[in-house]
């Protein structure tokens, strides 16, 4: 006889609300008149996220490993990561709500009369909102999942909507679709690797739960454990775009509609790093001598490669893509550190980096000419003269990426490097600061282009953002500024929440 699994709905409420919102969004898309859809969809998304946030706040002191039959752990770090995802998504959804970035009818062939018709009739489909909510739901599940199957499901739930969203750009549609296809194919490989690794781990430990794998350490042939760890890592490192699994990142960041790039760059990183941290801190902590060298080398390669290749980029979105690769390398030092400081630092880093990224991509979406967004850096020349405020904010965000003191990026870097140093990975710290020095070059080069070069006669200008974008960019920027000046506000929280239930 089958017994119904016992679920503690109260602890899972945040995720359920987001998934519920996504399903409701699908229904709205099917049954509501076109004219009201956009407003209703936005309300549902924002409402679901706000409710989810409220639920997370309610359960902030609770914890349980049996909330969903041992496959989900509600614990301090998990709640922090979920809250980070939801907050970032709340800011991102306001960017996404500016629909003129998206193709009106995704099913129409690029350049076809169908598409032109849809454009003329302004019949914008709004499937982005439910897709977005599904992705957010997956991102919330990923860092709290405690067995390999749930991890895989969460990975797919967050990835599949993203593959679609990446292909929905209104302008340069072919580029966008190519990016989406590339993302999908490579992502599918990565998922397969993940599954393959999961199978090995099951073979090794006889269980799919992370704590079970940890407990089984030393009982069987470690080769299988190592193979399992390596293959699972491939799947995860792909998601955070670590070298050598990074090659999709620049293409997808460039091709995807800018609000989606913003969302993806900020939230996927949080979710994927959340999962990596849990897997390595909980599942593989015993076997650290096996994987630490591998991840250390990956981190070093990622930092150096990302920083160096970014220098040669001539497109702002591609440049930030390589910068995000470099940041993935810095974040990996928090994984290698494998101590409480490393976890706390990673939590702070993800939060701070997420908001800086959102604000930066938000601003990129504002720089346009008559044909749409302009991401060619050469055409950004002299922007500081035309719109000093926007250029100034963007320069500040770049300095934060570079990790100049008094920005949130600096505190984050300091925290994560000191955790790595504490764990004895001094080489990682030295390479990290050198890579930061290299990285500083290309951030500052952009500042030079914006401020110190005279504008050439060009039609690029900063459009007046809609109220929604303005709110979104302002909030993200303010958070970046505040975290730079008074990081204690969040650092203490990250410290308190840096705890995984085993």
């Amino acid at each position: 006889m089958l017994t119904a699994p016992s679920l503690s709905y109260s602890l899972l409420a945040a995720m359920l609300i987001v998934f519920g919102g996504a399903v409701a969004g699908v229904l709205v898309e099917a049954f509501l008149a076109k004219t009201h859809r956009a407003a209703v969809q936005l309300t549902i998304s924002v409402g679901a996220l706000l409710l989810a946030l409220q639920q997370l706040w309610r359960i902030r002191d609770l914890s349980s490993t049996t909330a969903a039959v041992n496959s989900v752990a509600i614990d301090k770090a998990g709640i922090f990561l979920q809250a980070t995802v939801v907050l970032l998504a709340l800011v991102a959804v306001l960017l996404i709500a500016d629909q003129d970035n998206f193709v009106p009818q995704a099913s129409a062939v690029p350049g076809s009369s169908e598409e032109i018709n849809a454009l003329q009739q302004k019949s914008q489909q709004t499937e982005i909102f439910p897709l977005f909510l599904f992705a957010v739901g997956g991102m919330m599940l990923f860092p709290v999942a405690t067995d390999l199957i749930t991890l895989f499901v969460a990975l797919e739930v967050l990835s599949l909507p993203l593959y679609l969203l990446a292909g929905l750009s209104r302008r340069k549609r072919l580029l966008s679709q190519e990016a989406a296809l590339k993302y999908f194919l490579l992502g599918a490989y990565a998922s397969a690797f993940f599954l393959f690794g999961a199978a090995f781990l099951y073979g090794y430990a006889g269980t799919i739960s992370l704590s079970g794998i940890s407990a089984a350490f030393g009982t069987a042939n470690e080769v299988f454990l190592l193979i399992g760890i390596v293959f699972i890592s491939v799947g995860l490192l792909f998601k955070i775009s670590a070298v050598p699994f990074h090659s999709w990142t620049p293409d997808v960041y460039q091709g995807a509609p800018t609000p989606i790039t913003a969302f993806m760059a900020a939230c996927t990183k949080v979710a994927a790093f959340g999962a990596i941290l849990r897997i390595f801190y909980v599942g593989f902590a015993q076997s650290q001598t096996l994987w630490q060298p591998i991840i250390t080398v990956t981190a070093i390669l990622t930092m150096i490669f990302g920083s160096i290749v970014a220098i040669t980029q001539r497109d702002i979105k591609r440049m930030l893509a390589y910068s995000s690769i470099a940041h993935a390398g810095f974040l990996l030092s928090g994984v290698v550190a494998l101590n409480k400081d490393g976890l706390a630092a990673s939590l702070f880093y993800l939060f701070a980096y997420g908001f800086t990224t959102l604000a930066a991509f938000g601003i990129i979406g504002l720089v346009k000419d008559s044909a749409g967004e302009v991401t060619d850096l050469n055409r950004w020349i002299g922007l500081g003269k035309k719109s000093p405020l926007v250029a100034g904010v963007f320069a500040f965000l770049l300095l934060s990426f570079a990790g100049i003191p008094l920005t949130s990026g600096f505190i984050a870097k300091f925290a994560i490097f000191s955790a790595a140093y504490k764990s004895g990975n001094i080489a990682l710290v030295v390479v990290g600061v050198l890579a930061s020095a290299i990285a500083a070059f290309f951030y500052i080069r952009v500042i030079i282009m914006i401020f110190f070069t005279d504008p050439i006669n060009d039609s690029v200008s900063v459009i007046i953002p809609s109220v929604k974008s303005r709110i979104s960019i302002t909030i993200a920027t303010l958070i970046s500024i505040i975290l730079g000046l008074a990081p204690s506000l969040l650092l203490n929280g990250a410290d308190n929440f840096a705890n995984f239930l085993r």
């Binding site: 600096f410 490097f417 140093y421 600061v433 930061s436 070059f441 030079i448 204690s488 650092l491």
Partner: protein, 501 residues
């Protein structure tokens, strides 16, 4: 709240007021900036009056928690060494503001941003010398780069954006190496006495030799780039050539002192054993700087380049004095920092006036200025003589102290260093002769002499140069106790008894 904090925050408040209050009148903006810097200068003199010279401990201390999870505090305090450098900064600033009254008009972003940057920079300069928390120091040290970067890139001339980025990248690279060392010493303190950034506590750490050497190098390279010491100097001539004279004064006169100050405060105080290990190398680099800077200066055809390379030579003297590890050397180096600040200020400001009048910075374009513009010529002459350390002018005392202090421990280095003085006569007197004396070259006949504003600005600088040459005692009284303390703490004793002054 300590008076030190008030002095530090005041320029920042001024900068914010300037940035927020809309005003189109550039004259008003300039007066406001002058007013703020004057108030700060007066307050800092009060600070010096209230300072207890005999006490070698930190004074005017204040400590508030800033980032509690890393035990980072807003902790400030001053001893003799930092006090004179703060005085140097706060006194030079109103002079610079007054001297460069029209310098910002042609800049990229207008007058207002210029003074906002200058005032913000003053806060950071005071902060960097006052910080007694290592992390706080680092924040000021790095944040300082941003206003200077914009001042060079936005208001300079020539290939300014390339010079600005070169300056920034060199400094950032050094700063990040230092960050690795800071993280290192922070973690070590966590293992031994509880994680802290407090300088006094960090000096008590027991660090094994190899680690100490690496940590020392992280700090030293950052400061050697800043100071700048050969072979880390290549950014300086470019920056000095591109920056406006006012920015150059702040850059060479004050900001670069952070490098030599850092060598004393951090390299020697935190890592005395490593300092001992590296002293021969550093003394060698310093001697090379002295000679190299001097020779390069002789070969310069550009006035700004000339002053930049003389500074590299002078920074060689300062570094040599610091790492001679004698109390005279240390006092001399500290005094040299102040004197170099004033004589560079005089040289750059007058050279700046000469260049705006003539529209050229090439030495050979000038000639016979003594006849046309006597006041400008004579002030330049005095500033130049101070640069070559003529007895009776301020630099002589400090150069003498450095050489005496070095001779007792490293006679060879001191003797080669003395050669630098001979070369100084060449690199100063040849251009002085070309520019000031001889027949008036075509194009210079109608140059105007200094106006009343410029005279008021330069008078205090010349006065300081002359007075400090004859009567350096007030400043030495501030410096000596702390300098001797630093040398003693580092585990050195003077080879001979200290001379009385």
């Amino acid at each position: 709240m300590s008076l030190l904090t008030v002095i530090g925050v005041l320029p920042l408040i001024g900068a914010i007021i300037l940035a927020v209050v809309p005003s189109k009148s550039s004259e008003l903006i300039k007066r406001f900036a002058l007013g703020v810097t004057l108030i700060v200068a007066v307050l800092s003199i009060l600070l010096a009056i209230g300072f207890n010279k005999a006490d070698t401990k930190m004074q005017y201390v204040q400590s508030n928690s800033w980032i509690s999870s890393f035990n980072i505090n807003y902790a400030v305090g001053i001893d003799g060494i930092s006090l004179v450098l703060i005085l140097l900064a706060t006194i030079l600033l109103p002079i610079v503001v007054l001297a460069i009254w029209n310098e910002s008009d042609a800049g990229r972003w207008g007058v207002k941003s210029f003074y906002v940057l200058i005032l913000a920079l003053e806060t950071l300069m005071i902060g960097v010398f006052a910080a007694t928390d290592l992390f706080l120091f680092y924040v000021f040290f790095e944040a300082m780069l941003i206003p200077i970067y914009f001042l060079i890139g936005g208001y300079g001339s020539g290939n300014r954006s390339a010079a600005a980025i070169k300056f920034l990248l060199y400094s950032l690279f050094g700063g990040l190496l230092m960050l690795a060392s800071i993280i290192g010493i922070y973690v070590i303190s966590g293992n031994q006495i509880g994680a802290t950034f407090d300088l006094a506590q960090l000096t008590t750490l027991e660090i094994d030799n190899q680690t100490e050497n690496f940590l020392f190098l992280g700090f030293f390279i950052a400061f050697a780039i800043k100071a700048p010491l050969w072979p880390f100097h290549t950014w300086l001539p470019d920056a000095a050539k591109s920056a406006t004279p006012g920015t150059s004064v702040l850059l060479l006169g004050v900001l670069d002192k952070v490098g030599t100050y850092g060598m004393i405060r951090f390299c020697i105080e935190l890592f005395p054993d490593a300092s001992k290990t590296f002293t021969p190398v550093i003394i060698t680099l310093a001697v090379i700087s002295i000679i190299y800077g001097a020779f390069m200066a002789i070969g310069q055809s550009d006035i700004k380049g000339l002053i930049a390379f003389t500074s590299i030579s002078h920074f060689g003297f300062i570094t040599m004095g610091i790492f001679a590890m004698t109390s005279q050397g240390m006092s001399g180096a500290n005094l040299y920092m102040v004197n170099h600040g004033f004589s560079t200020a005089a040289l750059f400001l007058i050279a700046g006036w000469m260049m705006t009048r003539r529209g050229s910075s090439t030495i050979s374009d000038f000639g016979g200025l003594q006849r046309v513009t006597p006041v400008m010529a004579w002030t330049f002459f005095i500033a130049g003589l101070s640069g070559l350390a003529l007895p009776g002018l301020s630099s002589f005392v400090s150069e003498f102290l450095v050489l005496v202090g070095t001779y007792t421990r490293y006679p060879v280095a001191a003797v080669i260093g003395t050669l630098g003085i001979v070369l100084a006569a060449l690199y100063i007197l040849i251009p002085v002769q070309k520019v000031l004396h001889g027949p008036t070259t075509p194009g210079n006949e109608n140059l105007k002499d200094l106006n009343i504003r410029e005279k008021i600005a330069i008078a205090p600088v010349i006065l300081v140069i002359v007075i400090m040459g004859f009567y350096p005692k007030p400043v030495l009284d501030l410096i000596n106790p702390t300098s001797a303390q630093v040398v003693t703490n580092a585990g050195f004793t003077d080879p001979i008894a200290q001379v009385s002054k």
